[in-house]
Symmetry: D2
Subunit: 422 residues, 4 copies
Amino acid sequence: MTTTAPGRTVFDAVESEVRSYCRAWPVVFDRAEGSRIHDEQGRTYLDFFAGAGSLNYGHNNPVLKRALLDYIGRNGITHALDMSTTAKRAFLETFHSAVLEPRGLPYKVMFPGPTGTNAVEAALKLARKAKGREAVVSFTNAFHGMSLGSLAVTGNAFKRAGAGIPLVHTTPMPFDNYLNGRVPDFLWFERLLEDQGSGFNHPAAVIVETVQGEGGVNVARAEWLRGLADLCRRRDMLLIVDDVQMGCGRTGGFFSFEEAGIVPDIVTVSKSISGYGLPMALCLFKPELDLWEPGEHNGTFRGNNPAFVTATAALETYWRDGALREHTLVNGGRIERSLRELCAEHGRLGATYRGRGLVWGLEFTHKERAAAVCRKAFEHGLLIETSGPQDEVVKLLPPLTVTASELDEGLGILARAVRDTA
Amino acid sequence: MTTTAPGRTVFDAVESEVRSYCRAWPVVFDRAEGSRIHDEQGRTYLDFFAGAGSLNYGHNNPVLKRALLDYIGRNGITHALDMSTTAKRAFLETFHSAVLEPRGLPYKVMFPGPTGTNAVEAALKLARKAKGREAVVSFTNAFHGMSLGSLAVTGNAFKRAGAGIPLVHTTPMPFDNYLNGRVPDFLWFERLLEDQGSGFNHPAAVIVETVQGEGGVNVARAEWLRGLADLCRRRDMLLIVDDVQMGCGRTGGFFSFEEAGIVPDIVTVSKSISGYGLPMALCLFKPELDLWEPGEHNGTFRGNNPAFVTATAALETYWRDGALREHTLVNGGRIERSLRELCAEHGRLGATYRGRGLVWGLEFTHKERAAAVCRKAFEHGLLIETSGPQDEVVKLLPPLTVTASELDEGLGILARAVRDTA
Amino acid sequence: MTTTAPGRTVFDAVESEVRSYCRAWPVVFDRAEGSRIHDEQGRTYLDFFAGAGSLNYGHNNPVLKRALLDYIGRNGITHALDMSTTAKRAFLETFHSAVLEPRGLPYKVMFPGPTGTNAVEAALKLARKAKGREAVVSFTNAFHGMSLGSLAVTGNAFKRAGAGIPLVHTTPMPFDNYLNGRVPDFLWFERLLEDQGSGFNHPAAVIVETVQGEGGVNVARAEWLRGLADLCRRRDMLLIVDDVQMGCGRTGGFFSFEEAGIVPDIVTVSKSISGYGLPMALCLFKPELDLWEPGEHNGTFRGNNPAFVTATAALETYWRDGALREHTLVNGGRIERSLRELCAEHGRLGATYRGRGLVWGLEFTHKERAAAVCRKAFEHGLLIETSGPQDEVVKLLPPLTVTASELDEGLGILARAVRDTA
Amino acid sequence: MTTTAPGRTVFDAVESEVRSYCRAWPVVFDRAEGSRIHDEQGRTYLDFFAGAGSLNYGHNNPVLKRALLDYIGRNGITHALDMSTTAKRAFLETFHSAVLEPRGLPYKVMFPGPTGTNAVEAALKLARKAKGREAVVSFTNAFHGMSLGSLAVTGNAFKRAGAGIPLVHTTPMPFDNYLNGRVPDFLWFERLLEDQGSGFNHPAAVIVETVQGEGGVNVARAEWLRGLADLCRRRDMLLIVDDVQMGCGRTGGFFSFEEAGIVPDIVTVSKSISGYGLPMALCLFKPELDLWEPGEHNGTFRGNNPAFVTATAALETYWRDGALREHTLVNGGRIERSLRELCAEHGRLGATYRGRGLVWGLEFTHKERAAAVCRKAFEHGLLIETSGPQDEVVKLLPPLTVTASELDEGLGILARAVRDTA
């Protein structure tokens, strides 16, 4: 349909003020493939945002697209709630044989509603049910979602205020390096747990991201994660790893916690699990935690079968061997070198960097500069976004399938944008 | 079905015990079109369940399928968060011109996460923000979703217990006819509101379904809905109509509240809005309630563009004129006649019926008979499910696009199943 | 310290604005005995307020005073926490033999902190512990105290707002006759309990006053109380009667629930239990509910031994026979006749009355007239106060030891004040 | 009344199992004066427990006793809610001129219900009202009372569990030296406050004891208290000092926070404020915080006038000059020397000590030894009690009026008890 009014009119007139990304990138996007996205004027952008981590295999990945078109074409089941389907069976078999089994992970697979926050809600409900306690510990600058259960374990004060009710039953603990190494890991947490007079409600669970993407690309050390897993075990708390953004290969391995050698009790997966940007989410847990009664948690779109099809294709294509992992780590090294040079060039008052695999953050001393860099990058044809409590970190999330030359191109634009805003 | 077959093993071995529908229908579904769904053994079922109301235009509706294949084929944007896209623009324009404008509805459109519960969470947050109060009123036997905010306004005790924390800030009020006409409508509710000593926390909002699908196909009279809207207006409470299941034409008009002539402050829409069973949800509200700050509520899959494409196609196909509404009401009359006869045949100890449009419930005096009827119907090739607090109601939710002969066929199986279980 | 300013200066200068009764009666009181209280200017007032029910045996009752002076004089223990003392033993023995045993009441006696709200907090904690549930039902226009647990079951919106946090875990139900007989007793309450889909959190307990003193002298019928007790028994909820204001003979019998023939699971007692206006409170419960661990609930002044001494003297003096009960009922009849005449005189637009024993309320059609009547009465030498959600009820609470002539004198002033404000 | 059964029968038969101190001291007390208490068998004990700090001027102090007997004898008002009385005026004038004015403290005085927990409830309500926020910070091992508001800021897990509902809206922070000096003061607290992404609900107030009596005689350094006051000021949080146990001269000065030179926004006072062990409590706050509406918080026994009389006498007797303060500090030094020797004698594996003024704690490496020492001391005629999360600390709280020889006698018994349990 066409209106005579300029292109964005209907967005301004009809869409809610809650929209945000469209304000940073004031164009109308139309098509995309791989690492490139095109607006309706025909301009092309390199996408180092990748659907906030939902497009790890690039836009409209051709292998997945083929599987999807075939499935739709042959009238495969689209919507099935939790009925058994051939598409779900294929996914479960592939997920089990390509992901769980090779890693020795014993998880049962639950399909909650098809978004990250639905998976987190399911994880928290299950943990509370299993332990019979209400309290949950989260970490500073965590991001777990916008529904009330998930929002209560999310750090951002602005988003928390949106709840309209006091968010309770949760207590923040310092994420790795939050106090700049001035305090031994878990000193405070453990003291609260061991002291019968601490006033701390013993938690059912701890929920953690191994790398806090929205919180500013804060990277937990493997040693810290192991310490946390050990604390949970010793103090009878379940460990929930929210791998919604960092899972599906973003840090190299399929799960971001593999490198630390830990086995969380519960894992949430979403964003890139369908591989094609289609809504899908999983909640994984140890078999002894499969305490759900049939239907105790449900959701209309928990059986989004086209997503199962692309997810299966993605797993078959990228996770039957270690090639993608290798590619990710090599390219991660490429980004690291580039950021190191960039920071060196701009001296100690400019910026610092951090990251793992293909998620990297560039934090600026002058916090508002991060947004300026993103604006400049957009002008030069690169999509990147800020993160962190004050939007002080430029976050790089290229598709895992990014090529070396695309990476160099994007890093070049970034360097130019940094210089332009000096 | 056979249990020694390898086929289902992976569901038993890997999928969580939380799954439920697959227990009632122990086959593996593979393909579907229109009102028919096929299992992998080649058996065909008439589907009067329709994805719990998510498939109002039937499975894999050919017009929508064509639009979807075209869009995917041309590499249209799949995943876009809240970036502006041509697919979103088309949806907004069509939704405005085909749905909102003709009905004189002034709503702004918000895209929360793509499930009903995400839309309800957004609605509750917005209402609390707008009014600066925590309390919300819901109704007996309401169903609004499984995340913590939505679960707190859901009636089912079994599902509420799954929260793992006490669900507070909400108070149930009697749905229409809950007390069998022995109490004037809203007598208790209004008294609580007017009395400064009642101990009732003044609510920010009231959330209601016009027909409670999960709660047992309880149909609110238009007069009752008008009384509720009036009460909300007089007592400074926002009226939220949760039209997730009953919207998109299920009761005849696009919105289920049209018949009552009310204009809710906030409306949630999901299930059949994409028309193709793809995850999508809307939260609609009066412009003066658009108090969100950019990004105050978000969600990874709020920009599920393939769903926008099928949604637009569905609106263009079915909602530019009144044909579907007429078809729904005519077929609703056909069901009503059939159920009337069925109930008459089985006498006063057997069953009663109720419904609107194409949602109908058949309640049995012997509560367990409802499940038995559904089992029998499945044997005879018809998918129907129970609802109500004790699963005492057989619920009929055929696609709106069902043909007269399909309807007769299904009603015939139902009648036979009822007889078989007498 | 002396200031040159008039007598009340230090109150204005130093005491918090929270004070209230002193605003209605702007004099400085000095001495009192029986039904009379004297200000420092030597003016005498007839006291039909009686410490809001704390002075059932009159001010500085001479028998109790003698016992108190003796005890203090001989250096009897004043403060003893929950240590065993001879004064506590005497109280327990007398309370058991004069109150509990004759009524066949099996209660264990707990000494919480020495105020009504402390007793209510203990009762609610015990009920929740015993049942393992958080929810509690209270009634419209209930008053149970100002600490957070008690405030959550109190009806007054102004006082609830003072909490500074949302008051949750409690739901109000209609008190007897709240809906003017238009709804069968407990219809709504029972329906919520029996329906697994009602959304009502099953309560651990119901807390009720048999006569709501602060709420407007609302009198529950014995039949209604029996219905409530029966409902609690059938639906596994504990029945807590808050007899803080209505116990100790206010309605005739020692406990206000005796007349209804019910045996609550938990009873709170305070106000007149010491008999002398000294802080003291009891929480009584059936032996099987004595689930407390030693020290699980405590309080510094739970062993206020001078209060035990006057309490024992009061029980020995007034509760070894039925004379006081008889006196109360006879005088109650006297008040009733007087109010009947008064209301008849002023016609149907003037006032209605209600009460039991020696607690009576006179409700005015013009709500603000109640306060005017109290002001006038004060001018004429009578202390009476308003109650009810809008202070629309004049409340009469003379000491139980009031003489017939004092009663006539007070009722005469009341009648005059009503006429003066016509 | 006499029963043939042995003396303690009625306690066992009728009193609740919640009683605790009577289990440690299984005798029936009858009389007391000064530092001595007598059981009914005529045995005398030296009382270094002093009503858990409620008897700072000794049992039945003769000066206060005289004032009390006179007041009762002349029929002074006993119970007055918040009516103005001559006794209250005298108290306010004396409290102002003897306590507030000389210390330059600007406080308004509120009379909540007459117990510590009532005062704490009032303080928390006022702070939340003033700041419009729900959250409050308390400290590890804090003790503030047993009603729900106070219990939520109390540390002891056993007592918290008694609430029967999850205790929320509060977060514990480490008390001074909680982490043994391994973490800079307030590092974690300040970081949570300054970081918009910390997930910490910004508190309305911080509530603290300067010395945690129940928590194990943990003494906050003046420097730490100043740091806390400064943090509160900078971060817009109200500082509440709960001086219920440590006020009224226990640590030397009238208020325990004087030494640190801080002026809290709100102060709670109870226990020894009446001086005679009679129930009484105050909530003090800066004038700009006197935001109460009349009657917004109330309580039946907030006008316990006999307590006002003894309170006034106590202030006039002990707080018109610095003699008591001097006496307390000198005797504190005497205790300190004695404990130092005791600890030295028993070596590093035995015990450590700490304290201020006349509150001291002796912590044993073998935690259960503390209870054994108290039992032994009781056998030898000394009342002392344990405190701390595991009852691992012997707490010394002699009356402030203790004589040097009584002190030596008690310390001698303590030393003997320690030796006996070695």
